[in-house]
Structures are given as structure tokens and as C-alpha cells.
């Protein structure tokens, strides 16, 4: 069985600001990390492998799209337990929105071999959209389930999962291949293993460029292949008519009490 886990390298912090005068994005660009939500998808894959009757028959590969530096995050997935990792990296993909990202990922995943199950984190901490997984599934022509709380069973043909919907939990059996996005806290993720780190060679991560993907339609990639476009970015709006109370604790408590009482909140 072949399991693919999609991961993303995200900024180490989300402390980004826009200079209100120049409109320039001020960003602490140095640090980055593996998207924390992806850890749950990785853990789900490792557990499936470990609980398989023949664990060596289950191959886990991780796939990411991003800048060259994302290799470090992919290496981390290998230290945790992935057998192989692939980075899809090319300037052609710059400026991709959800649609162009999922298209590029679908071409990359198809290029890296057959797959039975694709696992994604619920969302990323930078884009926050939670939409790439489902669009990726559609791009590959397979079904998906979002918000998977548990994987309850797996056979050669199907996987049984519990899905979190608003008011109900759905237990469903899905035909393979399919894609699951794993809910946060579904499992306790493991740490990278030092033993694996020392055993990992330089060839653990392969980089694929657009030239390595012969099927790729470049008009569907990057900014050009993105139906949505960011017209403008701006700092969040600041309210003008604010009322500010200052003074010692006693005075402030009295003003606050007065406010709550006169406006009938009490």
C-alpha cells in the first residue's frame, strides 16, 4: 500500500505586518517550520504502517510544494518515519492560489508513483484556508473526507473513517484511493528520531521542477493559473470612536460597573 502525506513549510511565526505608509510587507522571513497541522496527518500514516500485518509493504512518501528551503521540513518527515520525500519547486508555481496549488500538487503526486491513500493536515497556519486538500482530491479525480477524527479500519479496497460534521459524527467507508484531511489532535504526533536522522542519506528528498512533470499544463500554474488574485493587502482596520478609561483600579472598576449597570448588562 502506498500512502502519500502532503506537508507544507510555513513561517515560524505569523508576525507579519504591513507598513501603513509604504504598503510593504514587513516579515520576519528567517524562521520556518513544518506546518503543525501536518503532524497529525503524518502520525496517522505512521500508525497505519505500524499496525499493518506486513509493515514493510506500506510505503509512506511525503510531498510538498514550496521554495528550495522546504527541503528541511521534508527531511524532518523522513526523520519521523517517511520512507521518501519529494519537493515540487519551481518559479512557475510562484503566486499559486488554492486552485493552482492543488493542480500542481496533483501533477507532482501522480509523477511520484501510485497511491492508495493521501493524507493532509486540516489546514496550514499561514494560508488558513483548509481548502487545498479537497481541491487536490478533485484534481486527482478521487473522493475525500475533511475533518477526519479517526481512521477506524483499512483494507486493500477501502478505509473506514469517522468524520466531524457540525452537529453529527459520520462513520463512513470510502473506496480507495481517496484523500483524508486529518483533524487537529486526532493523534499525538511523534518527534523526529535521531537514529533515523543519522541513517538518512542525502537522497531522501528528491526535488522535482516543472521540467520533471511532462504532463503539466503551465497555463494552469502559478499566478497565471490562479483564478483569484490579491488586489491589495492592507493592515486591519482601526476603529476610530473608541472610549478609553484611565485611572486607578478602584476608579476603573467603578466606571466599568457604572457602564454595565446603565446599559443593562447586569
Amino acid at each position: 500500500m502506498n500512502i502519500v502525506v502532503c506537508v507544507k513549510q510555513v513561517p515560524g511565526t505569523t508576525a507579519v505586518q504591513v507598513d501603513p505608509v509604504t504598503g510593504v510587507l514587513l516579515r520576519d522571513g528567517a524562521s520556518s517550520k513544518l506546518n503543525p497541522y501536518d503532524l497529525f496527518a503524518l502520525e496517522a500514516a505512521f500508525r497505519l504502517k505500524e499496525s499493518a500485518p506486513e509493515p514493510e509493504d506500506v510505503a509512506i512518501r511525503t510531498v510538498s510544494m514550496g521554495p528550495p528551503q522546504a527541503v528541511s521540513s521534508l527531511l524532518e518527515t523522513v526523520y519521523m518515519g517517511a520512507d521518501k520525500a519529494y519537493l515540487i519547486s519551481d518559479r512557475v508555481f510562484a503566486g499559486s492560489d488554492v486552485q493552482a496549488t492543488s493542480y500542481a500538487l496533483s501533477c507532482g503526486i501522480a509523477r511520484t508513483g501510485p497511491f492508495d491513500l493521501i493524507l493532509c493536515g486540516k489546514q496550514t497556519t499561514d494560508g488558513d484556508t483548509a481548502q487545498v486538500g479537497p481541491e487536490l482530491a478533485e484534481s486527482l479525480g478521487i473522493e475525500h473526507a475533511s475533518g477526519v477524527l479517526s481512521i477506524d479500519g483499512i483494507t486493500e479496497e477501502s478505509v473506514t473513517v469517522t468524520v466531524n460534521l457540525d452537529r453529527v459524527l459520520q462513520k463512513q467507508e470510502m473506496r480507495l484511493p481517496c484523500l483524508l484531511t486529518i483533524e487537529k489532535d486526532a493523534f499525538t504526533p511523534r518527534l523526529p528520531s535521531f537514529r533515523r536522522k543519522f541513517a538518512t542519506g542525502d537522497d531522501a528528498v528528491s526535488v522535482l521542477t516543472a521540467d520533471d512533470l511532462p504532463e503539466l499544463d503551465r497555463t494552469r500554474c502559478g499566478l497565471k493559473g490562479s483564478p483569484t488574485q490579491a488586489e491589495k493587502i492592507f493592515p486591519p482596520e482601526i476603529k476610530k470612536d473608541k472610549k478609553l478609561f484611565e485611572g486607578d483600579g478602584q476608579t476603573l472598576a467603578a466606571s466599568l460597573y457604572g457602564l454595565l449597570s446603565s446599559e443593562k448588562y447586569l
Binding site: 505569523t14 473522493e143 488586489e231 493587502i233 476603573l252
Partner: protein, 394 residues
């Protein structure tokens, strides 16, 4: 289309300026040559802000679809057992405003089983036409049949904009349907506006909410967006004016590889998203034991207790009490924040509250930018005194 580097204008000085400007570290200068790495996000900042003419952006004319063939604003009306999710009513209210700009109709798309009554309700909340796909196979949410019905609706009705609630179901269905028709999708919009040319202006927090992005879909239709529950207000329930249109459901539509084995009601949970009053605490709280202080105030007010993300990460609170982008969105009549600095992620989950009262000892805390009433002071001095005063009253 792409970035053109004009080598004659690149020297050490201009290269350094450009490298400094790039927020993504995608530019490098080596041996007198400036190069762009795949880290580039095509933000094109250097064109406006960098040394003039050093890098330019060559735009190819994109094929633009015939926008006049796509009319109206559609709302996907989510239902469970015939009960419409309230976010759908909120979206109908917004859709009415948006459609008014161009004089186009408001549609509701309803998929389910035994949903006639629900369809009538949608008319009362402002839908001009309700398109109904009714079949026992739609009783529970199944990705393929729902997506098939959704795209059938898109192909037949050709709505220009489609609004979907960012519920677990909506976040699963909208991207599937959008991808199939190759439509643009903007998730978790917090503001929507309509241009005269039917381009939907979608505003959403980006980069974890520290900045806002204004997103449009200039060349394709339809344009999809998802909006969280409680971002917009539901309109008044009125008289039904529109009509219900029953759409044929063919067998092929119901095919898929997923079988429902069991559906269970979720156990009764802590739910702050429907609370009328909330007391929320953040990192201004010094110790876990001090939660009792906030809890006491919440009890005195009859409010629910909520918190920020660091409180959950510290293990002090149940994640279900977290407000913000990665937690719940709330819209209470009153929210009192104690020791919360007010990150945009947090604000995104509560800024539409009717009344925001903030207590924080830092006068520059950004919570004061969104609070209606700000109290600059120590919560440890103010809250016990306030509790005492409320207690005396009773």
C-alpha cells in the same frame, strides 16, 4: 507572462535594495547576476517600491470569460434533517445586498431529503429562487452526490457568485465543487462587496490574520467564497416572494465511492459560539489558578468563559473555549476581554460582537483599537472590585 529582470539596471546597490524589499527571501545576487528562486510569491512589491525599472512584470492578456452569461448571487443552503444552518440565512442577507448592486437575483441551492419546509423558509429570508435537489440519497452528506448536484446547479443556473458557509460541510463541499468547474475560491471572507461589473470583492485575513487581503476573480466565473458563521447578520424573516424550482435528480448524480455506516449526534459540548455574554481571558492572566477570578466574574454576569489561543496551548483551557481564527467565532451582545492584547487572529473571531469592553494594562494593546470601551489598568485590581460591586447590588 512573468518577471523580467533588466540586467542593465542591476548593480550592487539596486540588487541590495531589491533583496531587502523581498519579504520571501526569493532574490539573490551572485557574480553580478540577480536571480529569483521558487520562494517567489509574485507579490510584485519591487515593481512599485524598488529601483525604477529594475524588475518589470510582463502581463499577457488573459482570456476573460463572458461575465454577462453568469448572473446572480447564489447561497448554498446547508441543512441537517431539514433544519437550515443559521449561517445560510446570514449569507442570504448578504447576498441580497450584493445582488442589489447589479440588480441581479438571489438564488438558494438546497440539497437534501424531505426539505420542502426548509425551501419555504429560504424564500422568507430573501431568496428569489430556491433550487431544490431532493432525494433519499441526499439524506446525509455524501461528498460525490452533493458535489454532483452542486455542479449540476452551476451548469444550469450559471450564478456569478456563490456563497457557502464555512462549516465543516461547507469547507469540504465548496472546494470540491469549485475545483470541478475550475472556479476561484476564497476561504473565510470577513467582508464582501460587489463591483458594478459583477466582480466579487472578497476580503479575508491573510498571514495568520496579521494583514488583510482584498481578493478578486477578474477573469473567470463563477466566483466561490466561504464565510464563517456569525460574520454577517441574518435578515428579518419576512413574507415569501420568490419561487421554488425542483431540479431533476438523475441516477448518475447519486454515484460515489463512499458509504455511510453510522451517523451519531455529537455529545452535548461546551459551545461559546452561541453565548450572549462572554468573559474572555488572555496572557494577562498570571497563573492557572487565576482563572477562578475570571470565572467568578463570568458567573456574576451570567456569561460564558472563553480564552485566547496561548491559553489553550498552555493547557489552561479546553480548546472549545478558544476564540479566534483557529478557534470559534463569537458574536455576543457583550464581550469583556481581560488581559488580552488583541491579535488579529483573536479579533477575527470576535470583532463583530455588539459591545466590546477591554481591560488591559498596556495602553498600546491592539485590543483597544477594536474595543468600544477600553479600560487601561490592572485586571487584578479591577476585576475583584467589580465582582464585589455586582455582589453588593444583588
Amino acid at each position: 507572462m512573468g518577471l523580467l529582470i533588466h540586467e542593465e539596471k542591476i548593480n550592487e546597490e539596486s540588487a541590495a535594495a531589491l533583496i531587502k524589499l523581498c519579504p520571501f527571501g526569493a532574490l539573490s545576487y551572485e557574480n553580478g547576476k540577480l536571480s529569483v528562486s521558487p520562494a517567489c510569491r509574485m507579490c510584485r512589491l519591487y515593481i512599485r517600491k524598488g529601483p525604477a525599472g529594475a524588475i518589470t512584470f510582463e502581463e499577457e492578456a488573459k482570456p476573460v470569460c463572458d461575465k454577462s452569461a453568469w448572473r446572480g448571487v447564489a447561497v448554498f443552503a446547508e441543512q441537517t434533517e431539514g433544519r437550515i444552518h443559521p449561517v445560510s440565512y446570514e449569507l442570504l442577507g448578504k447576498a441580497k445586498e450584493l445582488a442589489h448592486v447589479t440588480g441581479d437575483p438571489v438564488y438558494a441551492l438546497l440539497i437534501g431529503d424531505d426539505i420542502s419546509e426548509a425551501a419555504g423558509e429560504l424564500l422568507r429570508y430573501g431568496a428569489d429562487r430556491v433550487y431544490v435537489y431532493e432525494d433519499p440519497a441526499f439524506r446525509h452528506f455524501l461528498i460525490s452526490p452533493y458535489a454532483n448536484a452542486f455542479t449540476d446547479f452551476i451548469e444550469k443556473v450559471k450564478p456569478s457568485s456563490i456563497l457557502v458557509g464555512a462549516t465543516p460541510l461547507g469547507r469540504s463541499l465548496a472546494p470540491k465543487a469549485a475545483c470541478r468547474v475550475r472556479a476561484g475560491l476564497t476561504a473565510d471572507c470577513t467582508m464582501l462587496e460587489m463591483k458594478e461589473n459583477t466582480d466579487l470583492v472578497q476580503i479575508r485575513p491573510a498571514f495568520g490574520g496579521n494583514i488583510m487581503a482584498r481578493i478578486i476573480t477578474p477573469n473567470t466565473r463563477p466566483q466561490f467564497c466561504t464565510v464563517r458563521y456569525k460574520i454577517f447578520s441574518a435578515p428579518e424573516r419576512g413574507e415569501a416572494a420568490g419561487k421554488i424550482i425542483r431540479m431533476p435528480v438523475i441516477k448518475e448524480m447519486l454515484r460515489g465511492g463512499t458509504k455511510i455506516l453510522d451517523v451519531t449526534k455529537k455529545p452535548e459540548e461546551i459551545d461559546i459560539s452561541d453565548a450572549e455574554m462572554i468573559v474572555a481571558v488572555g496572557r494577562g492572566l498570571r497563573a492557572k489558578e487565576d482563572i477562578a477570578l475570571a470565572a467568578e466574574l463570568a458567573e456574576a454576569l451570567g456569561a460564558q468563559l472563553a480564552c485566547t489561543r496561548p491559553m489553550v496551548e498552555a493547557g489552561w483551557f479546553d480548546p472549545r473555549r478558544q476564540i479566534g481564527l483557529s478557534g470559534r467565532t463569537v458574536k455576543p451582545k457583550l464581550i469583556i476581554t481581560l488581559g488580552i492584547s488583541g491579535s488579529v487572529q483573536f479579533a477575527a473571531g470576535m470583532r463583530t460582537s455588539e459591545r466590546i469592553i477591554a481591560v488591559n494594562n498596556d495602553p498600546n494593546a491592539s485590543i483597544f483599537n477594536i474595543a468600544h470601551d477600553g479600560f487601561v489598568g490592572d485586571l487584578y485590581e479591577i476585576v475583584p472590585e467589580l465582582i464585589r460591586m455586582i455582589g453588593e447590588e444583588k
